[in-house]
């Protein structure tokens, strides 16, 4: 339940002016990684080449994470870059000298970082220890996936671990939290994308002090702390230097005093170290120039999610509603909230290329082959995949993921191009037609994957209101079974009873979180995707 408004007003009255302690950290070696990767990201945008764009997106995602999450400086940084681009020679052959030189610089700088601790982590640990010693009530605002990086800072018995209630991951968490002393945030204040946070941190504070730890050059969004009441002429003022949010004639604005504490290497004093640019801002501008639609992420179980265009009417189920309104069309973030279930349907008469494979039929074949090859020689398989052109970040982890047995979704590469490489390497990619179905194996298997991801819906099928009404009636009639399953499971399948004359099933996925701030191509919307894939569409 949200905090009582009277408590909030009493708090604001008592603490008229809040404080922001902004720790800006500079490190030459990390600066070299940033600069090199940033330039590669920008250069890879220049050619009209899909592979270059995808690589650029993945690199952008990698660097954005390092700038907004307290990651450890260990071998995973270098591995992540190598997983994505391969060796320097391969980069030289594929992308040319410029990019290979930048890549080499990044790799060398990242190798050098392995011997030191990330100063952001150091600062974070010191700040939290000090606040704890003063018995301050602390909260940390971060993305759910960033949480392990914070937790790894405090290992018992040296330190008490960070408790679950110290973390805030969404605007809903923030809305429902009580009052506390200090909020900790890593990365700049941004309303969308990597390291994003609710504007309410500044316009509706529940704390006295904001401790912000940022890499040098990463600036806050100028209009962070947005209030729709603010007249347009004042809107640009935002937080800015004065950190006065939303000043207008009709109210007393929140006031913030900001203190900037700089630490690390002084760019002016270190040879070859120039002042940092704001990569997050640059990436955002790059991203906006491509044809994408803004989207809302509905995160579901199993590290998967679905991107919807804003204000989509999503077919969903609310177990807490007793009446006939339990199944309804709801708007993510507005009427569709955490704890409800999104419903996707897979209908027998939706034909994607003449294929009518049962779910899991083809996947059993290629997954068995994959498991066999992986057990026999995992490293060899990965290098063969890479040599065949499957250059994915964390390829090893991806292969392990694809080996998992089908659940409500068939775990497989996200792109047809990658899927075909996988089948080719497994020796299943031939174009010879299936004897019964008269279609190549890869085609049948890919359609099976697509169907498991609910892409029938994406193909516009859901637009047919008449069928939707029919489905609504079916769902209402099997409500007791749905309710039973919803109590015990976060994701389940409900078959359509044969008596209805429609062959198919419904997939129910519990909503674990809803997040805005994504821009994705049209083809990525309304389809089930792994969160690791969706991350690249963050603004």
């Amino acid at each position: 339940m949200p905090i009582a408004a009277s408590q909030v007003f009493d708090f604001l009255e008592r603490h008229g002016i809040g404080s922001v302690d902004r720790h800006e950290i500079a490190l030459a070696a990390f600066g070299a990684v940033r600069r090199s990767l940033r330039q590669i990201v920008v250069k890879l945008r220049e050619p009209e080449d899909q592979e270059a764009l995808e690589t650029s997106d993945q690199l952008r995602s990698l660097l954005s994470e390092w700038l907004t999450v307290p990651v450890a400086f260990d071998s995973t940084m270098v591995d992540a870059m190598r997983d994505l681009l391969g060796g320097v020679e391969a980069v030289h052959t594929r992308w040319g000298n410029d990019i290979a030189t930048l890549y080499d610089t990044a790799i060398h700088a990242a190798e050098g970082l392995k011997s030191i601790e990330n100063p952001v982590r150091e600062k974070l640990r010191a700040v939290i220890r000090e606040l704890r010693s003063q018995s301050h009530a602390i909260k940390i605002f971060c993305h759910r996936r960033a949480r392990p990086h914070f937790e790894s800072l405090f290992i018992p018995p040296v330190d008490l671990p960070l408790s679950e209630d110290m973390f805030l991951h969404s605007v809903k968490d923030y809305r429902e939290t009580g009052l506390f002393d200090v909020l900790i945030k890593v990365g700049p204040l941004r309303s969308r994308g990597w390291g994003s946070a609710p504007d309410a941190l500044l316009t509706a504070p529940r704390f006295r002090t904001l401790v912000q730890i940022v890499w040098s050059g990463c600036s806050d969004e100028p209009d962070f702390g947005y209030d729709p009441v603010t007249p347009p002429e004042n809107a640009a003022a935002g937080n800015g230097a004065g950190m006065v949010a939303a000043a207008t004639t009709g109210h007393s604005p929140m006031k913030w005093n900001m203190r900037v504490i700089r630490s690390g290497e002084d760019p002016g004093a270190t040879s070859g170290y120039v002042a940092e640019a704001d990569e997050l801002r640059i990436f955002r501008e790059l991203n906006q120039s491509r044809e994408k639609r803004s989207a809302v992420l509905v995160q579901i179980v199993g590290e998967h999610g679905i991107l919807y265009p804003p204000h989509s009417q999503v077919f969903s189920f609310d177990a807490e509603v007793a009446s006939g309104e339990a199944i309804d069309r709801r708007i993510p973030g507005q009427t569709l909230v955490e704890g409800m279930f999104v419903i996707m349907q897979q209908l027998g008469d939706v034909d994607l290329g003449g294929v009518r494979a049962e779910q899991g039929h083809y996947s059993q074949i290629w997954k068995e082959r994959l498991a066999h090859e992986y057990q026999a020689d995992a490293a060899g398989l990965i290098s063969r995949l890479r040599a065949a052109g499957l250059r994915l970040m964390h390829l090893g982890a991806a292969v392990q993921h694809w080996r998992r047995p089908p659940s409500t979704v068939i775990h497989a590469p996200q792109q047809l191009k990658h899927f075909r490489i996988l089948l080719d390497v497994l020796g299943l990619g031939g174009d010879e037609a299936d004897r019964l179905k008269m279609a190549p194996f890869w085609h049948l298997a890919w359609n099976e994957v697509r169907r498991s991801r609910g892409e029938a819906i994406h193909a516009g099928f859901q637009e047919h209101e008449i069928i939707e009404e029919q489905l609504l009636a079916i769902l209402s009639s099997i409500m007791p079974q749905i309710r039973e399953k919803a109590v015990v499971s976060e994701g389940f399948i409900q078959e359509i009873p044969a008596s209805y004359g429609i062959e198919g099933r419904f997939f129910f996925f519990k909503v674990l979180g809803i997040e805005e701030g994504f821009s994705a191509p049209e083809t990525e919307l309304k389809a089930l995707r792994a969160i690791s894939v969706i991350e690249q569409w963050r603004d």
Partner: protein, 341 residues
């Protein structure tokens, strides 16, 4: 002294933010200028702020001699009868006015209730030319011809009584007087319903709106008053009491009674505010929208852009803003007034 409690927490004097919101509603200027006003109020968290503003407007209207549905009630019954006899009785859509595209905002069931509680049906013998309404007891042939002078003895079934002649269901002035000391009251208004003020509830539905309002209560000595009862929304405080405001359910977009366009709407929440601004029947009404800032940026921007769009036709209303007390820290307000062409 009147005490206040929120979410069952301890009793305390009325806090500044509550007093401010009630006064804002109470001091909201009438529509003498003829220029529509739209206000947006943003709060630092979710609250019953919209209900408190609506309470202030309700108290203001209790002192307004024109704030009553009594005068036009016989006409309202005739309109209801005409819609029933000429449209709804024959309509095959039971009842979705959007699907039927009939131009009405709700179905006319043809059922009318007498003050004693008996149910009647509009009769075919109603004569619109001579303005004679004919009613008959359900399933009986006996016809009644209500006297227009005593039209308030009848009410459309499912709606609040228009005027009460007995004590039960009549508002007591005490609580309202305690809440706004300077308020004036007209005794007739305490026993008659009014639909010129509309409370538009959250898109999460009527129950969610009721729950938010129910978190607020006042106490004077041994008497306790919950906000939903003070708001007199039909069905929130019993069906046989008068109602001084209509309720617009923004989830299903239905008004709780057949009423002409309200003079003033208080909208609870961003989505509700946007819906109210978009509805054709509310285009002449003053609107006060209440949102909270603990929302995602996209939702905040949709509201901000809507306000920005309005500025083409509306200007900042510093005059009205000047009449309102200074807002407590954490509340921000913007008021726009329609430009004179």
């Amino acid at each position: 002294m009147l005490l206040f409690s929120e979410a069952n927490q301890e009793w305390r004097p009325i806090p500044g933010w509550v007093e401010f919101l009630i006064r804002l509603g109470f001091d909201w200027p009438g529509c003498a200028s003829g220029q529509r006003k739209i206000a947006l109020i943003s709060m630092p968290g979710d609250s019953a702020a919209a209900g408190l503003i609506a309470l202030g407007v309700l108290i203001r209207d209790l002192g307004n001699p024109y704030a009553t549905d009594v005068a036009g009630h016989y006409d309202a019954l005739l309109r209801f009868a005409r819609q029933y006899l000429e449209n709804c009785r024959k309509c095959r859509e039971r009842c979705d006015v959007e699907v039927g595209r009939c131009g009405y905002s709700a179905e006319a069931t043809g059922r009318v209730r007498e003050k004693g509680g008996r149910l009647y049906e509009i009769s075919d013998r109603t004569d619109f030319r001579t303005r004679r309404l004919a009613l008959r007891l359900e399933r009986k042939s006996l016809t009644w011809w209500p006297d227009p002078e005593k039209a308030t003895d009848w009410r459309i079934d499912g709606e609040p009584p228009v005027q009460l002649n007995h004590i039960e269901g009549v508002l007591t002035v005490h609580a309202y007087q305690q809440i706004v000391g300077s308020a004036q009251f007209i005794s007739e208004n305490l026993s008659s319903s009014y639909s010129g003020l509309c409370f538009a509830g959250r898109t999460a539905g009527e129950t969610a709106t009721f729950k938010a309002c129910a978190s607020i209560q006042f106490r004077d000595g041994n008497d306790e008053y919950r906000l939903p009862n003070l708001l007199t929304i039909h069905g929130w405080a019993g069906s046989n009491v008068i109602s001084r405001m209509t309720f617009f359910n923004s989830r299903n977009e239905q008004l709780d009674r057949r009423a002409s366009a309200p003079a003033m709407i208080v909208a609870d929440g961003d989505a509700c505010f946007l819906k109210v601004l978009g509805r054709s029947e509310f285009q002449r009404s003053d609107v006060i929208g209440v949102i909270h800032r603990t929302m995602d940026r996209d939702h905040l921007e949709v509201v901000g852009n809507r306000m920005l769009g309005l500025r083409q036709w509306y200007a900042e209303d510093s005059e009205t803003l000047g009449q309102i007390a200074h807002a407590p820290r954490g509340i921000s307000i913007s008021i726009l007034r329609k430009r004179i062409p």
